[in-house]
Amino acid sequence: MPGIDKAKTAPILRAMGLSRSFGGLHALQDVSLDVPRGCIKGVIGPNGAGKTTLFNLISGSLKPDSGTVCFEERPIQGMKPSRIAAQGISRTFQNIKLFHGMTALENVLVGRHRLGRAGFFGGMLNLPAAGRDERMLLDRAREAIAFIGIEDVAQREVSGLSFGHQRAVELARAIASDPVLLLLDEPAAGLNMKETSDMGALVRKIRDRGVTVLMVEHDMSLVMGICDDITVLNQGRKIFEGAPDAVQRSAEVIRVYLGEVNAEDSQP
């Protein structure tokens, strides 16, 4: 990251010493992580490494046993998810969580909820201010839908959409709130190769709009292709952090992913 200004170089998100256990299982132990502004940061690791737990701790769905999470240098750990979202952190879910019974456009409108102002009574009485608010929300939701490129399904009810479309609607919902930081939980899960590379291009496009991205992903081609920086977790601990090529060269990471390399296997 170029630039000498401290405010610009300070990480947008800084997690320090995060730990969380479920019963006797230490899902995450003393994990620290910086997300520099304007980058795409990847979190990888085998199943059960604690990636999703890390995400849930950052987004507020879970509370950490210990440790802090600072967003824009303000602590956010322990806040309700809606308050964290209100500060400009939005997320997607590993197993897509859409609002069924609503159209794609309505889903995206909910994504923009935090930037609307009309309340219960304004809505009930259909006050002019609520109408203006609604038109503003609608314009920006349509923009998000156009940005993701799903105009053709905007009016369709989401449970009838294909898996790829559902994922795209979720992404549109997440960016509709003009987030500062976007958390993507396995955005390529269940997508084929073509869709995965489209998703990679989309995530880049989102980053180029000035959104910082933190992404958990299994698909190595996607992670290595678009991430500026990668954190590797294994069994709840951070084992490596660095640029994609450094991760690929790391003996520790290779050991975790492929198992011990013994003499016979290494023969050509």
Binding site: S59, S61, K80, P81, S82, R83, A85, A86, S90, R91, F93, K97, L98, F99, H100, G101, M102, E106, N107, L109, V110, G111, H113, R114, G116, A118, G119, F120, G122, G123, M124, L125, N126, A130, G131, D133, E134, L137, R173, S177
Partner: protein, 366 residues
């Protein structure tokens, strides 16, 4: 949705409700107006539950409890005799401001002072809001069956209290509830000669209530409620304060029930403990389920029609069984509320299926 498209169904409802008494008169059955009026008040309570249960996805098995709180508060305050407290300093002030009014007690001779119906109504609404907040805050953390059981517990407590307290008339309930003048020249009362004006007042209240809810459902807040029903976790992650929205909806639905309960008590001239019974709550839940859950209009019409039939005694002694059966059927055949019966969408789909069957069949053979 445009303002025009949104107001049309409300106007349609006003038209239907407005024409109904004329049709009853033409058929020489003006006596039906009484049950029509009562079923309108029940429908007003049911559409409030529809918002909570259908749109926000939070079940309440204690809705009749709130209706009873509204009805009993109005009944108690407008019938209790406060003349013994006439020496209190605030008394004359309250009397001059119209909160209290002089009347005669049930024996027809001795003077009495009671709370005016409008003040009693206000008190009923405020009390309902307070109780709904108090109950809602802990209870709405629960989900599904647990929420159903907790709210049912609340309903049972209210029922037991109205039976148990002497001040609430025990098993006899409260009678002698006076007329409630809501507009100049129009009062909610059971006077036979005012039957038509009473019906129209009830209809106006229902149209107003449905208009408010219809607006809400199509607003930012209403969308947030539907999102909560879709996925509470994702709604929260989208910045919807789900706790607050659920609580607001719980309170609002309770206020609809309490207002309906209060009006109904003035209309009937009294209230009894059966209004607070658990079966009344089950009935409301069954009507929302039959109406198609997140379907204000379906709930409205199922409530108007079935409550009317029930009040006419069509179901005889199987009354509760009929509503229980409706609930079971709705849960088995359309647990998510897709009852293709009342909804305009379903009608359109059915029409397309009827008219487009040949074309589609052709596609299938290709």
């Amino acid at each position: 949705m445009s303002a025009f498209k949104r107001i049309m169904p409300v106007l349609g409802l006003a038209l239907i409700l407005g024409l109904a008494p004329a049709m009853a008169s033409l058929a020489g059955a003006r006596y039906l107006l009484t049950q029509m009026t009562m079923s309108i008040y029940y429908a007003l309570a049911t559409v409030g539950l529809c918002l909570l249960m259908g749109y926000a996805g939070q079940i309440s098995m204690g809705h009749a409890g709130f209706m009873a709180i509204g009805g009993y508060t109005s009944s108690v305050l407008t019938t209790c005799n406060l003349i013994g407290h006439a020496q209190m300093p605030a008394f004359s002030l309250l009397e001059r401001s119209g909160v209290l009014f002089r009347t005669v007690s049930a024996d027809g001779v001795s003077p009495a002072v009671c709370v005016a119906p409008w003040a009693a109504f206000l008190a009923a609404i405020i009390l309902t809001i307070a109780i709904a907040l108090l109950i809602g805050m802990p209870v709405l953390r629960l989900k599904g069956h647990y929420l159903a059981m907790a709210t049912m517990g609340f309903g049972i407590i209210v029922h037991r209290m109205v039976i148990g307290f002497r001040a609430l008339g025990e098993a006899d309930g409260i009678s002698g509830v006076p007329a409630f003048p809501v507009l100049p020249g129009a009062a909610i009362s059971g006077v036979i000669s005012d039957r038509l004006s009473n019906y129209l007042l009830a209809a106006a209240a229902l149209v107003a209530g449905v208009w408010l809810l219809q607006n809400l459902v199509h607003s930012r807040a209403g969308r947030a409620l539907r999102a909560i029903r879709g996925s509470e976790e994702a709604a929260e992650a989208s910045g919807v304060d789900t706790d607050r929205y659920k609580l607001m909806t719980f309170v609002l639905s309770a206020v609809f029930a309490a207002a309906a309960g209060s009006f109904l008590a003035h209309y009937n001239g009294g209230i009894g403990p059966s209004e607070a019974g658990v079966m009344k709550s089950v009935r409301a839940v069954a009507l929302v389920a039959l109406g198609g859950m997140a379907n204000l209009w379906g709930t409205l019409f199922s409530s108007l029609i079935l409550n009317f039939l029930s009040l006419r005694g069509v179901f005889q002694s199987y009354d509760d069984a009929v509503f229980g059966a409706i609930l079971i059927a709705a849960m088995v055949f359309a647990p998510h509320g897709r009852i293709p019966f009342f909804t305009a969408n379903a009608a359109a789909r059915a029409w397309r299926r009827l008219t487009g069957r040949r074309g589609r069949g052709g596609d299938a053979r290709d």
